[in-house]
Symmetry: C2
Subunit: 256 residues, 2 copies
């Protein structure tokens, strides 16, 4: 019998190497096996790994496969884009652990290696739209009912959080972003700043759009887009070099 | 007249060098001047910089000073712990830009360099407590009214977000965390998992407490603590190596 190995769910960040932490690099380097969604694996350069690429929709199968490899004694890095703890693979591995035969994976050492998430990349490019209280919400209704998403959007708007929207749109979910923007327009002013960051950090495909809730068009988003809807205090700002930004002040009126 | 310089608000992450991105390191290295709260500056090793350490409460003065240095032609790194866009210096620099004499800073190139934030570090250590929708809220009422914090906490609990609490307690704000926990107990079950991560990433001073909303005691937190209050679906999980974790599944009942 082999001694059990280890598994790390590793966040490599939103794209470029300059946003991948030394810890993530070191853990990937130390691993025998890399498991992950194919485009994320493609971002990791290496010669010595066994590579196990999978489709985006097979998170649980991917998690089980990684745990099986670790149980056989391997060091396994599950490669996650962004931060594995934010709408990514860490929860999927925990789900696999919860619902499965524990004896098979007994002794496997499990850990999570954090990474920069898309909301941080887009916020940094835009200015400081998340400079005050905020929430992060996935618009995907693959795993949760749309009614819950609507309820959370409405309460988040009433709470006056800046709102980061993950998974806004895809071929199989074409209408959800439009419906979300409509709902938010009922609660928040149409001149609220909105940021659409697409493929941020990925070179020439990067796009940043600063607009308003009234103007924002779902057509401007794709699978690689993260949106930030401002709070009531969020505002546009012309920088000293003439560039426009969005930021949310830390203070509130009456307490300056 | 000197050509104007640049300013970058740089996130060095929660503590250890292995969590600082290559981009942050490179920008710090390229800077002439480092500006920041003294304990953050202490984390940056370098011989060639001019260092401008300041007190924690002087964010706007610090931002103006950094902009003045850049206007004189310097490359200036404003050092922020965690992510500068999340309850940190990026919004303070934008506020300084908004409220000040623009001519003085004309031409200064302004940018934000993202970093890992405390919520990511604590979530990674705990498992995957932020694996579904979540919000991040500062309990500091220095810059916003306590009534707004109460309102946001209540709506966040009703929306069933996992809740990350920044700035939970300090010598000058001793009662706010207790009041927040009391309020959350009115809306969310007392067996809701709660994580308290203190000085996570900072070696031997790191502490991680997994508890419940009913049991959580403000005495277990200090200035270096980030709390995560679970959603209604958050749960404890025994890992294969016997370690207990907290995670929030991506799915909701009825949609499995």
């Amino acid at each position: 019998m082999t001694a059990p190995g280890w598994i790390r769910i590793v966040g490599i960040g939103p794209g470029p190497a300059e946003w991948t932490t030394p810890e993530a690099l070191a853990v990937v380097e130390a691993a025998d096996d890399l498991v992950g969604y194919a485009p994320y694996l493609d971002r990791v350069e290496s010669a010595h790994h066994r590579r196990h690429a999978s489709d985006n929709r097979e998170e649980i199968a991917r998690a089980r496969h990684a745990l099986d490899l670790a149980a056989e004694g391997a060091g396994v890095a599950v490669i996650s884009g962004g931060d594995p703890g934010i709408f990514a693979m860490a929860a999927a591995v925990m789900e696999a652990l919860e619902t499965a035969d524990h004896d098979r994976w007994a002794g496997v050492d499990v850990g999570v290696v954090p990474g920069l998430s898309a909301l941080q990349a887009v916020a940094a490019r835009a200015g400081a739209p998340l400079g005050n209280d905020f929430c992060a919400l996935s618009l995907s209704d693959n795993l949760k009912p749309w009614s819950l998403i609507q309820r959370r959007l409405r309460l988040a708007a009433e709470a006056d959080f800046a709102i980061a929207l993950y998974n806004p749109i895809s071929r199989s979910r074409p209408w959800q972003l439009g419906a979300a923007l409509e709902l938010l327009r009922e609660v928040r002013a149409t001149d609220t700043p909105v940021v659409l960051g697409t493929a941020v950090g990925r070179g020439e495909s990067e796009q940043l759009v600063l607009t308003t809730l009234g103007e924002a068009d779902p057509e401007w988003a794709d699978m690689r887009t993260l949106l930030i809807i401002g709070a009531s205090t969020s505002r546009f700002l012309a920088g000293p070099e003439g560039r426009r930004r969005v930021y949310t002040p830390r203070w509130h009126e009456g307490l300056e």
